[in-house]
Amino acid sequence: MNVDLFFQYIVAGITYGTIYAVVAIGFNIIYNATGIINFAQGEFVMLGGMTAVSLHRFLPLPSAVLAAVLITMIVGALIEVLFIRWLHKPSVLRMIIITIGLSILIREIALHIWGEGVKALPYFTGTSVSSIKLGGVFVSPQVIWVVGISAVMVALLSFFFNYTIAGRQMRACSANREAARLCGINAKNMVTLSFALSAAIGALGGCIVSPITYVQYDSGTPLAIKGFTVAILGGLGNSFAAVAAGLLLGILESFSIWVMPAAYKDVIAISILLVILFVRPSGLFGSREAASMKEF
């Protein structure tokens, strides 16, 4: 393998890894607020991408993306209000099954709206063949968009959770729901907010990556499994570690083509998930102690 190809693999790994990290952060936001793993997380990504593609037919690209994110955000909030908000202390099994049901419904609705075809937004700048030279390596401009927008998103999220009232209230709720409620925070609204936020982040991820990876009605589930892998790798609930874990998985997966046919790419990622679950469920960066305190 020559140096060029090596860097191409790295770049591809970073691109996919970024999206896995975005899905993982979506998982984390809802998990922190509710203790629920939302199995429909991947569908938010698909929904964002699909909606943006449809809207782009009569809206300019930036507005289409923005509108798609808003629409998915509303869908996320609605899902929480309709299906989760009013359940009284649901069991874990019940929540797993409900969110899996939701993921299937969203996927099937998408199938009926958009069909089975593969869709994509145009490249944000340039075309599929244009490239930028970065320190001797040629990189598609879309990769810059993906990494750039995701980085801004992580920065904004971190600002949101640390410096805004709503963000701090959400953190207070995840630390101790009962205490937060006593301090006058409406915990239920915080949960709704977490679904909206997580849907918005997923949708934006789906938009920026669609020129490269394309979207299809059923592209959510593999993303969900890999996003979960990344969330676990980083330690459930820890979003900064998820970024590192996402890049790691993306790059590993990218290089796996070396040793295995591309058709088995997912097998690699999922085997990593299984191995991590077996040997270190608290994640590579998480502390064992902290993981054992959590309720599953």
Binding site: I37, H88, I97, I104, H112, I270, L277
Partner: protein
Amino acid sequence: MRSSAHLALFGLIAAVIAVQQITAHTGSGYYLTQLTMSAYYSLVIVGLCLLMGYAGQISLGHAGFFAIGGYISAFLTTHDLTPLKDTVFVAFLNKTGILWAREDLYGGQLLTVQPWPACIAAVLFTVVVAYIVGGPVLKLKGHYLAMATLGFGTIVYRIALGTTALGAADGLSDVPPFKLTPFLEVSGEMSARVQNYYIAWGLVILAVFLSLNLIHSRIGRALRAIHAAQDAADAMGIDTAKYKLNIFALSAVFASVAGVFLTHYNGGIGPSEASIMKSVRYVAIVAVGGMANLWGALVMGTLLNFLSLRGYLGSYDDAVFGGILIVIMLFIPRGLLHTDILRDLRALLPGKAGEEDA
């Protein structure tokens, strides 16, 4: 087993015979095809019900076990060994009678494994996989167990889809009939329709009989105890890890046997049998049936699979199962076929909070 369970079992046998008689007298024998297929899916569901409902362990990968059974049996009984005929191993197999020479559909000569040894190999391999996967997976709980089994299912699906030797997206076809005895044969031949209906349902009845015995035994109590309070079960001397693993393997065997038989019945198998959607479907049906309710799972499994196979659900097939999952889990988490169903429904009325199980 309790006498009420015996009675219900006789009821099932009577119903199976009655349905066949009705189709025979009304000239609607074509229904038997879907009823036969439903029976095999119900076999998976009975096993999953033992695992989920009684032992309390979710599996989102049971289609994987079904597919392992089906694919191995299909591969072994269709893969032509003629080019390897002179290798020591194949020659040895040939001598033991495990192989048979037969004609394919176009009159060409094939040397393949016989269905019986293929079936046994498939089920044994499933058991091995179940123990290898189940060992670590069943140490997990809740979300982690769900994701890990989902991951297992996805791996099987991806391997089925990506392996040329397994026919990739087309799957394997031209699987020969499975001669169980000189008079009984699993095959999709029109002439063997009635016989296959009885083979399939006979298998289900056997599975239900064994499962009912198990539920009402020392082992069944231990499994329910693990589900109800694992630490207390542990304190009573129950090796919880071992029991969970054994019931996981047993339910995998049910799924695998169903996979083998249905593959011979259909004459082939495709990757969709391994898909996550199939696994979710099985879970959905166990949930609708009321989780720890073998009869509920059986009735709903037969009904829903029959409707789906007849195409009554149209292009909304998967959506229906997704919808069922949500509706049942939101409103009647104890399932539809439950003696207290009215109470559950009343509890839905505003102002009355339903009680939640742990």
